[in-house]
Every structure is written in structure tokens, then in C-alpha cells.
């Protein structure tokens, strides 16, 4: 237990607002989410923020901490504080509802826009699909499947910042994962959805999504895979047909 206090600047307001400073006692192993929760419970109950699981599974608690998008429940203050201060803001590239809570609708609508959902053709009466874990497609799907939808990648993407219609790294990572799911039956729809200007070909391969992803996924690699797959499907045709 340290006697020091942490000076925490927290964004208050919506798109227009200001940083308000709070003094929070420092604890060892304290996470950024602990800090925000302390402020809301002990100092200012009107502070709005979002969290659920507190163990890095639900993807609810991402915020901009000291200028960088992070999952706050698994980010320890000791690892990122600058002296004795911390600046906490809502995620970039998403409309602010209030304080630290952002409107995630557009983010998830883009998953839908990228056909980022599974559709099979078998029913509960069919036998289980047999997928070899060591098959290449399954390995590629595994590489991106642990996405928790926290939007850290989306908030870190400079292309999303400059082009609001860009599907973004999370939706494209999901689309790439599903293109490697051999049970899915909407592959051509998906390739068409992610092709072109608002899709994978807009990615500049800056790599911020991959650098910031708290699950250590690589949307950059997935988008690169989509670029090749879509282009080959457009020029020569894919195993699912030509675009």
C-alpha cells in the first residue's frame, strides 16, 4: 500500500466536455478500472462508464488511458502511469454517450456489414461437423477467433479516424476468421462485402490494431489475407466462385 495519491484526469461530458481531476489512493496491483470504479463509488456517483466481467473476457471496459486505447480491467496503473498522473478518456472514433461510455452501435453494425456472422446449412439433427484442428483453415480461424469486441483496434485505427465508412480492423478480422470456417455458407457474400473502398483494400497496414490488441491478435494479418483472397476471387475466381 502506497501513501501516494494518484492524480486522475477523467473526461466528463459528451463530444463537448472537459477533463476533471480526482485524487485516488494508490494501491499495489491496482488496475485502471479499479481507479475509475473508486471515483464512481467514492468521489462522484454521476460518472458514467461501462464494464462487466473485470477479467478481460467481455470487451466492455476499453478506454483511452494516457492517450492509448486499452482494456482497463487488465491494465495495471503501475505499468502505464506517468509519474503520479493518469488521463482517462472515452475510446476514439466512436460517439461519446456520456463521460467514458461510447456508443458502440456503429462498431457492431460494421461487423454485420462485413457479414461477420456465422451461417451454416446443417441442423441440430445432423451429425457434428468434423474439422481437423491441425487443418490450415482451422489454424487460420484460430488465429483471430479470440476477439472480445472491445473496439481497442477500432479506436486505434487512423484509417477509421479519416474514413468513417471503413469497416475497421475488428469487423475485417471477424470476416477473415469466418472465411476460414469451412461450415459457413455465405463466403461469396462476405468477400463482396469486404472488397473495395470501405473494406479491406482501404487498410494502409499501419499496424496500430495489431500493436494495441489486448488479446495479441493480428487484424493486420487477417486483413492482408482478405486482400489476397478477395483480389484472387475477383480476378481468377475462388473455390466458392467468382466475384
Amino acid at each position: 500500500m502506497s501513501e501516494n495519491n494518484l492524480k486522475v484526469k477523467v473526461w466528463r461530458g459528451r463530444e463537448q466536455g472537459e477533463f476533471v481531476e480526482y485524487l485516488v489512493p494508490r494501491n499495489s496491483n491496482q488496475t485502471v478500472l479499479d481507479v475509475v470504479t473508486y471515483i464512481q463509488r467514492k468521489l462522484d456517483p454521476t460518472l458514467s462508464y461501462r464494464f462487466a466481467c473485470r477479467v478481460g473476457m467481455c470487451g466492455s471496459c476499453a478506454m483511452t488511458v494516457n492517450g492509448v486505447a486499452r482494456w482497463t480491467c487488465r491494465t495495471r496503473v503501475a505499468k502505464i502511469d506517468e509519474g503520479d498522473s493518469l488521463e482517462i478518456a472515452p475510446l476514439n472514433n466512436l460517439p461519446v454517450i456520456k463521460d467514458l461510455a461510447t456508443d458502440m452501435r456503429e462498431f457492431f453494425n460494421k461487423w454485420k456489414g462485413a457479414v461477420g456472422f456465422f451461417k451454416g446449412e446443417q441442423t441440430r439433427y445432423d451429425d457434428f461437423a468434423k474439422i481437423k484442428p491441425e487443418s490450415e483453415a482451422r489454424q487460420l480461424a484460430n488465429a483471430g477467433i479470440e476477439c472480445i469486441g472491445c473496439a481497442v483496434c477500432y479506436a486505434s485505427c487512423d484509417v477509421v479516424a479519416s474514413r468513417s465508412d471503413y469497416l475497421g480492423p475488428a469487423a475485417l478480422n471477424r470476416a477473415w476468421t469466418l472465411t476460414n470456417d469451412v461450415r459457413d455458407v455465405q463466403q461469396l457474400d462476405r468477400l463482396r462485402a469486404v472488397a473495395g473502398d470501405a473494406g479491406c483494400h482501404t487498410c494502409h497496414t499501419l499496424g496500430s490494431c495489431t500493436e494495441r490488441c489486448p488479446k495479441q491478435l493480428s487484424p493486420t494479418a487477417g486483413i492482408s489475407g482478405l486482400k489476397k483472397l478477395v483480389a484472387i476471387a475477383a480476378v481468377r475466381g475462388s473455390k466458392w466462385g467468382k466475384l
Partner: protein, 127 residues
């Protein structure tokens, strides 16, 4: 996939962009090879100084150089305008006036590049 979706202009544009991306990647591979060969030849060629006569002596009537540099020009002709079009589309979204610029660039590269290739092949005779 329904026929309606296939006819959708947005999807047609997206598929065209995918094809252009493919063309740009293939032309980049050709350019990578051409630039490497070109640099190696230059390093070799300038050992004893660089004169127009020496260059023309090597390239005049040489079909290998003519074909090599025309492939180089064609790769530039494909690669550069697609890149410029992407940059313009991102920086001037919705502006149709700038759409002509990549086409102009493509024509310039093809005409000036091919003229240069013919020039070094013929030694300037007849141009």
C-alpha cells in the same frame, strides 16, 4: 448470392477495386525486379564514367534492353496511376474533377516512357 446484389454498383466498384489492387501488386513485383536489374546495370555501367555515347552503344539495336525497359515502362504505367487514384480518392472524397489525373499520368508514363525506350533503341534516329 442474388442477381440483384451482383448488379449493385457498389459491389461492381468494390470488385473493380479488388482487381486494381491485384494489378498493382503484380506490377509492384515486376517493378521490384526491374528496379533491381536497372540498378545493377547502372552500377556496372558507370564504372568507367557515364557518357551518352556509351549508353547508346550498349542499348542501340539491342532488343533485350528495348524489351526490358518497355516492360519497366508498362509496369509503371499500371502501378503508379492506381496508387495516385487511391491517394486522390482518399484525400478528395466525392470529387470527380480529380479522377482525370490518374488517366493523364498513365498516358504520360506510357508515351514518354515508350518514346525514351525507342530513343535508346534507335539512338534517336527518326525521332
Amino acid at each position: 448470392m442474388s442477381a440483384t446484389a451482383i448488379r449493385s454498383p457498389a459491389i461492381r466498384t468494390a470488385v473493380l477495386q479488388a482487381k486494381l489492387w491485384y494489378a498493382q501488386r503484380i506490377s509492384a513485383m515486376v517493378l521490384g525486379l526491374c528496379v533491381a536489374i536497372h540498378l545493377l546495370i547502372m552500377f556496372y555501367a558507370i564504372r568507367g564514367g557515364l557518357t551518352a555515347g556509351e549508353i547508346l552503344g550498349r542499348t542501340q539495336g539491342n532488343w533485350f534492353f528495348a524489351i526490358f525497359y518497355e516492360v519497366f515502362v508498362l509496369a509503371c504505367f499500371v502501378h503508379a496511376p492506381i496508387g495516385i487514384a487511391n491517394i486522390l480518392r482518399e484525400n478528395f472524397p466525392g470529387s470527380s474533377k480529380v479522377a482525370i489525373l490518374p488517366w493523364l499520368l498513365a498516358c504520360l508514363i506510357l508515351v514518354l516512357g515508350t518514346t525514351a525506350v525507342i530513343g535508346v533503341f534507335t539512338g534517336g534516329v527518326g525521332i
